[in-house]
Subunit: 469 residues, 3 copies
């Protein structure tokens, strides 16, 4: 009977008229910001401090006591001091016994210590229930209410009841708790705020490499070559002309690289005759950063569009067009209108616009709030069907751009073809293989494999795979 | 006393230090993915399987037993098998009595069976509390954590307590439960993942129809007519010139159709003298897809902008401009600068840019995460005031584009006026009626009707309408 | 014992098989819409009405009784009548004793009454637990499910248990409750739906002022000056040329104003030698609307881009280019290609494009759903590092635009320099000061101050600041 009533206690307290008291150890910025917010949301706060009388800037209504006095006032204690000063807690083990200790600390470097701060705290005060929380929240944002950055509070701990109570507090403060499981997860949670776009690293490095290579390639063909052979100063091309060759190439290649891992996975499954074997790690990694690859590609496509649209206001282009007109007037040569040139120029541009339009659509649907509104079938329709259509349009745009002179030897300079020819290799490969994969005979096998069928398997397992979802 | 303690049990268990055990029937993809996620979040898992010893690929820490043994270990059982194999459950009715059965299944087609899978399950095992949940979540997304698509889990069931417990699990997994009421809703929930943009269907069909009509119309006027009368080959216009007539027309018409139902509704209310009668169904449907209509219109406007901005880099345009210059040089005719032409050209362009800018703003505020941040008054201000301003600017843009030659008979070809003249009909109608509706005398009546006043009503009802919110 | 069982009652009821009954006073639009939604979500509804038999349009399944009869059926009563009619509640004080009264009302004007409606209600029925909720939700949106506008329900109340139960209802309806603390917050909550973009007001007024000033300035230099001295009619410049000077100036100035307050704050902290003194109010206000300032700047930058890209399709520009060619043909002057002009023109354009691209990136990351996905370090990286890079690129764009003629006296008209020269003042100042602030010696002091160090402080306080988070 006694035990049950203790179990129910947290809920009873929470829902009784009386305010719940939370104790905060440490009167630094974060402790104070948190206390402001908690006071606002109806908690009563008591601070534990080394020098209760020296503490300043604390919010009205908060009490400041010595550590042990403060700890006795509440069964939830938020430890808002740096890990280096945790040792003072060893003197309080008795009073902290059975209490909930919330570790809110962060480190300065990823994996700075061998164990996470929260696990260290749990070792120091073995009798307490340690819960990791709040470390992703900024003190400034808490106090100003300007929670533009994440409202997500990752919570972990070995004691479910303690975790639940901390998550209740998180919710009451208007934040979103995310249960990450047991205290082992604390290490990951502590590393999280120190990360800088980990999923974006590979796509960004890759695209930087691609850009550097193609930039150099174009410089050789379009700046160094004419200088060597004609002593022409074409350096001004570095600012717009060459970037406007590099960016579309990067965009198209990266877009193709979004769809390449899916094709490799399909080939692997066909080859193995089963879907029940793990893909190699690099393929898994690649598949997980497809969204980022696609968005980087969209960035390059956007730049390509802007670089293309400013063409007519460039000095060089205006000068060239003027010169062409003047030459024509002087030589009195007739400028016959060529319908095929008009078709080529217009369809190249139209394909590019439609491809870019679909690309922007794909980008918008990958916004978290939009993708949260669609169901799985819709998401796959957009990202797969529309995505392939985008790839087809953009590849066609590049092919038509080449037009007649596509592989003619006259465009070779030092045996180097135009850069866009290289850019077509990966997209065309992807499209050709995809085309083969969707041919009925192969597609049927693949679908069966993906539904759980295995080429070399005992009946029972196949049955099992078919019966269950 | 006994009963109360049973009632409290779920909460006690949930918040006690002990892990809650969940049973999963079926070891297919979805069952396994769900078990991975649940193990991560601190549940303990026991699988029920036909051949416990044959089951492979199961996560570490999960136990595999026969169905009846597994069912005894937990009072929540997730049924992760296809509906076609539900009959095995009939043998387990005794052990399943009083337990919570979670139906996670989906069908292959909308309304495939006469009753929903969850209701069928409830008939098979009448003693169990059936809850529908998790069917909108993808197995792959669950396991990879890449929940780009919906995090929303629709939950329904006849037993509130059972539903609540399932919703607790959903929350613990970091997903968002949405209570959809009793088990009757299961049918709708099962159809949901099979839908493909149902709200977008009408706007897309409508715009496809509009585009087809205007495309044909323009082809007749601009390709067939010159061919018939002058044997000119103008087919190259199909790629850019004609789409760039069709897209703005579609954009303007669709934008006007966003505001037309509101006007029809206002006229209906004025005519009926009350707001307490339902609108016809087609009007309700139309009003609910206004957002989609507007976004499709924005897509066309975006395409129109791109098609317009590439004009100066088109071969045809460059050729025409060059020819014009050459002709002028040769004929030595003076090209006088016309201030009125400059005004017309500039104001037409400026109106278009401003209209498009506001249109993009409207589009951004309709993003779910943005519209969630504004209050109702702000949302209405943007969508109504800014929306009408956009419509006015875009209509003015089209009117000024026509300029002096607007209705001059010289632009008729085969008695067909320019396409943009047709495009103006709906927007101008909408704007004129709206202008009449906001005139003080009419606006006052309308406002009174919308506040609950009725033209032909007994006093009491009117009073009632006024007193309550 | 008796008390405990009452305390547990809400949870028991909620989780028992029986439906929870909610009472709604008032059968107006909002009451009815709410009842529809609640019936859908499994509640049973009883209406309280003055004339139970006169009430029409109520949903099937809802009972209508007199006020006192209805109140006895439930312990949660939603008061859906206007504040002016609250007095009928005074007759029901006895039956309402101990019940939860939910105030959903709104006013027509901000601070219409001296106390909030909810506090007024609490005074009228002192025995009831008043909770403010649902006032931000629109009746129409509730019923149609088209909750495009906010799903957030602000909740406040003095009784935690009552508040918790209302928040449970909010969650069950699929809405998001936000606990705002005690009933004092009701005033703010009631004002919220009446606000119209309060955070945007200052940025919009400021930019309107900026635009007006620079528009006038440009009109004087480019329309009035040529008219006075050359009788030239340059009024057509009002439509595009002059806006395309004003918009980039506004964009650049506003972007600089986003970063100015941070710099002022740093100087203040350096001067005071501590971070523990509040900034003046105007600085706090300024810092809180930086996001809005930045987005308005992005709007102007977007307009500038569009206005620039349409340059080649303007009548005036085509006429000027044609004239230039013709003059050149006639005078037979050689038009030498100038590499430096090409460099200047191209790099000016390229800087502008890159600046705009980063600016758009900043805008996208400030979307709520995107900024919710990044951690605090990533958010600061984007908004600070990328933000300064954007400012540098845009300032460089303007500087290169000026090119050689930057401060040459020939561009003065009536002693007025070109408008863009004025536009450079604030951005250059910000960049220069920022450059000084990041020099190692100053940066080190600033970092120490921001970590809690104080120039003139007793040791203990400094220690305190260092030990706690």
């Amino acid at each position: 009977m006694e035990k049950t009533s203790t179990d129910v206690l947290p809920f009873t307290m929470n829902s009784s008229g009386k305010q719940e008291t939370v104790c905060i150890f440490g009167t630094g910025d974060f402790g104070r910001s948190l206390s402001f917010k908690m006071l606002q949301c109806g908690y009563s706060i008591v601070f534990g401090s080394r020098n209760p009388r020296m503490s300043t800037l604390l919010p009205n209504g908060a009490e400041v006591l010595s550590y042990s006095e403060a700890a006795q006032k509440s069964d939830i204690i938020i430890v808002a001091t740096h890990r280096e000063h945790y040792d003072f807690l060893t003197e309080l083990t008795e009073v902290l016994n059975g209490k909930i200790l919330v570790d809110v600390s962060n480190n300065l470097k990823i994996n700075q210590y061998s164990e996470s701060n929260a696990e260290y705290l749990a070792q120091l005060v073995p009798g307490a229930h340690v819960v990791k929380a709040f470390n992703t929240i900024s003190a400034w944002a808490l106090q100003s209410g300007a929670l533009d950055a994440s409202r997500q509070v990752f919570v972990c701990g070995n004691d479910n009841k303690a975790k639940q109570r901390v998550m209740d507090i998180v919710r009451t403060l208007g934040l979103t708790p995310l249960d990450q499981g047991s205290l082992i997860a604390a290490n990951e949670i502590e590393n999280y705020p120190l990360q800088l776009f980990p999923m974006w690293r590979f796509p960004l490095y890759l695209s930087a490499g691609l850009c550097a290579f193609f930039f150099l390639y174009c410089v050789i063909r379009e700046v160094i070559y004419p200088y060597v052979y004609g002593k022409q100063d074409e350096t001004f091309r570095l600012a717009i002309s060459i970037p406007n060759r590099v960016f579309p190439i990067a965009a198209l290649t990266l877009l193709a690289l979004v769809y390449l891992p899916g094709i490799i996975a399909a080939i692997l499954q066909l080859y193995r005759g089963t879907k029940y074997r793990r893909f190699p790690d690099w393929l898994d990694q690649w598949m997980l950063c497809r969204k980022q690859l696609g968005l980087v590609a969209l960035g390059f496509a956007f730049l390509h569009v802007l670089y293309t649209l400013v063409i007519p206001i460039r000095y060089y282009v205006r000068w060239r067009l003027r010169n062409k007109t003047i030459t024509q007037v002087i030589t009195n040569k007739d400028d016959q209108f060529s319908t095929s040139s008009a078709w080529l120029s217009d369809s190249y541009v139209a394909l590019g616009i439609l491809g870019f339009f679909l690309f922007v659509l794909l980008g918008i649907t990958s916004l978290p709030s939009v993708s949260n509104m669609v169901n799985w079938r819709e998401f796959r329709f957009v990202q797969s069907k529309l995505g392939y259509l985008t790839l087809i349009l953009c590849t066609a745009h590049t092919l038509v751009y080449g037009g007649k002179k596509f592989l003619s030897p006259t465009i070779l300079r030092w045996c180097l073809p135009s850069a866009y020819v290289l850019a077509l290799i990966i997209p065309c490969t992807v499209l050709v293989i995809k085309f083969i994969l969707i041919m009925p005979c192969i597609d049927k096998t693949l679908t069966r494999i993906r539904q759980g069928w295995e080429r070399n398997s005992k009946t029972s397992s196949a049955l099992n795979g078919k019966a269950d979802i």
